[in-house]
């Protein structure tokens, strides 16, 4: 309290008392107003006729109306179902309060926003009903959190199931591989077989071998995804690793006539991390970039690898000028087995694996994309 508000030994005059009380009162009001304004909840009050007499900034953020726009209007007009709101008002009048979970309000834009609504009757000093005060908590963040939990849980479950299946399928696939190898040997040794028959059989066996390899690729990736091992910590140069990856994918790049551009920061980019895991991230991202460029089918396809360093964070950007990712696909791109590549070309595991690995390495994974323009995936990793 400030000293001039403290009654001193001299007795106050009536006007002094009033002035002091007014100051205290206005300070309390300011204090309350600040609290209300800064609440992320939507808080508003009405008079006895249900007309809005206050509306905080939380409300402005939540349903798009400014306080000036709604003051003096009936509160029920904000609700998606005005008659239901009136019923709640009446209930609070008789019961003192009324609550409603996930109560729908209508946003200025027209869409529905749901709140956990708590309506309290306000009475004046004589105990008469003077209006209501409503506190509305946006349920979307909680609901999103809840949905995310379910999603993560579901993903983990899918991962476990899938790796179990991958394990079981491994053995029969191995057997098929051995048998086809044997057929190849027998055909190779066979005498007196017509040339075209031999060629036919050889091609067929090669196809089996190829498909076995494909199965092997899928099961290995899946098992790598489900694997829970700790990342290794070895010293490595990101630039070197990126160059190696590009040279590994070079046949693919050259075949599709795509230019790989290195936009590296000067010198080497040293990191303590897991080489194999990083390699897998780079292979996946660059393969995706190649695919996106190819899909677009225009000349001048480019994949740009850019590195930079900011304090203890390393940033690797893999950009392409391909098709971009539609909003619909953005939602599903981390779903296991979701792929936009043609059958047999994509496993639908690349991006979930990238995200999983980057998480294990303590980094961050994000992307920027524009349909028709291209996509950039951004990997941020701690240096040590």
């Amino acid at each position: 309290m400030e000293s001039n508000d403290v009654p001193n030994s001299r007795s106050e005059t009536t006007s002094e008392v009033i002035a002091r009380l007014e100051r205290e009162c206005s300070r309390a009001r300011r204090h309350l107003a600040t609290v209300l304004e800064n609440s992320s909840d939507m808080v508003f009050a009405t008079d006895a006729d249900g007309i809005l007499v206050s509306f905080n900034r939380g409300g402005e953020r939540a349903i798009g109306y400014s306080s000036e726009q709604v003051m003096g209007r009936p509160a029920r007009d904000l609700a998606a179902d005005p008659s239901e709101f009136e019923r709640l008002e009446a209930l609070s009048r008789t019961e003192g309060r009324a609550t409603h979970q996930e109560y729908p309000f209508r946003h200025k834009d027209g869409h529905i926003v749901r709140f956990d609504l708590s309506l309290i009757a306000i009475t004046d000093s004589d105990g008469r009903f003077a209006g209501t005060s409503s506190v509305c908590r946006d349920t979307a963040p909680m609901k999103k959190f809840h949905d995310d939990l379910i999603r993560v849980d579901r993903l983990a479950e899918i991962g476990r199931t899938a790796s179990g299946i991958a394990h079981e399928i491994n053995n029969p696939v191995a057997v098929i591989g051995e048998i086809s190898g044997w057929i190849e040997a027998v055909v190779g040794d066979a005498k007196g077989m017509a040339r075209e028959d031999r060629e036919e059989l050889e091609t067929a066996v090669q196809h089996i071998v190829k498909q076995v390899k494909r199965c092997r690729g899928i099961t290995r990736q899946l098992l790598a995804y489900a694997r829970d091992s700790e990342p290794a910590q070895t010293s490595l140069d990101v630039h070197e690793l990126l160059r190696e990856t590009v040279s590994f994918l070079n046949p693919e790049l050259r075949h599709k006539d795509i230019e790989a551009v290195f936009d590296f920061m000067e010198g080497s980019l040293l990191l303590q991390s897991d080489k194999q895991m990083l390699e897998q991230i780079f292979v996946n991202l660059i393969s995706n970039a190649i695919h996106a460029v190819k899909e677009k089918g225009e000349a001048g396809g480019r994949v740009v690898l850019k590195t930079s360093r900011d304090g203890s964070t390393v940033q690797i950007r893999v950009s392409d000028n391909g098709t971009g990712i539609s909003e619909e696909n953005q939602k599903r791109m981390y779903d296991l087995f979701f792929t936009t590549k043609p059958a047999g070309k994509g496993t639908g595991l690349g991006l979930p694996i990238c995200r999983d690995i980057i998480g294990k390495l303590g980094g961050e994974f994000s992307f920027e994309t524009q349909v028709g323009e291209g996509t950039t995936f951004i990997v941020r990793l701690p240096t040590g």
């Binding site: 191995a174 057997v175 051995e178 092997r216 091992s229």
Partner: protein
């Protein structure tokens, strides 16, 4: 394939069809192959017959791959083991590495890779054996035994290390 020495391979896997076809292919390649379908059977066979390389599946009912190759090692100290493993079992496989397996290979195996690995394992086995043999021979000379003693000791060594 004639210039290749006869490499004696012991196959151990409970997946019988796999063993059947894998042995056929390896036999055709010129390896001498003995097929067994459990760790127990392999240990029994190894007690009476010498091998250069064992190819053993990690996951088997009864004694598993790691234990099998430990037991084999006790019977035939120079025998090199290649352990086949699924991905999730890499940790156990590493343990088997500590137990001195020559290498572990991810299942499903790539045939050509397996053949190369068997040859490399054989090479290591021979080197180890030669080195040990040489060491024992040097020992005998240093001990300064008479001609007859040396001859006797050498015969014993030949028998132990299977060098004719």
């Amino acid at each position: 394939m004639n210039e290749k020495p006869d490499i004696r391979v012991l196959l151990i896997d409970d997946e019988e069809t796999l063993v059947e076809y894998l042995s056929k292919r390896l036999l055709r390649e010129g390896f001498m192959v003995k097929a067994t379908f459990s760790g127990e059977e392999a240990v029994e066979v190894a007690a009476g017959e010498a091998f250069d390389v064992a190819v053993v599946d990690l996951k088997m009912p009864g004694i598993d791959g790691v234990e099998t190759q430990e037991k084999l090692k006790k019977i035939q100290p120079f025998l090199q083991s290649i352990v086949l493993t699924g991905h999730g079992a890499v940790d156990t496989a590493l343990e088997s590495g500590r137990q001195d397996a020559f290498k572990y290979l991810l299942k499903p195996i790539e045939y050509d890779n397996l053949v190369d690995t068997i040859k490399a394992a054989y090479k290591k086995k021979v080197e180890l054996q030669q080195a040990k043999f040489q060491q024992e021979v040097d020992e005998i000379y240093r001990a300064g035994m008479g001609a007859r003693g040396i001859k006797k000791a050498m015969n014993k060594l030949r028998k132990i290390y299977g060098i004719e």
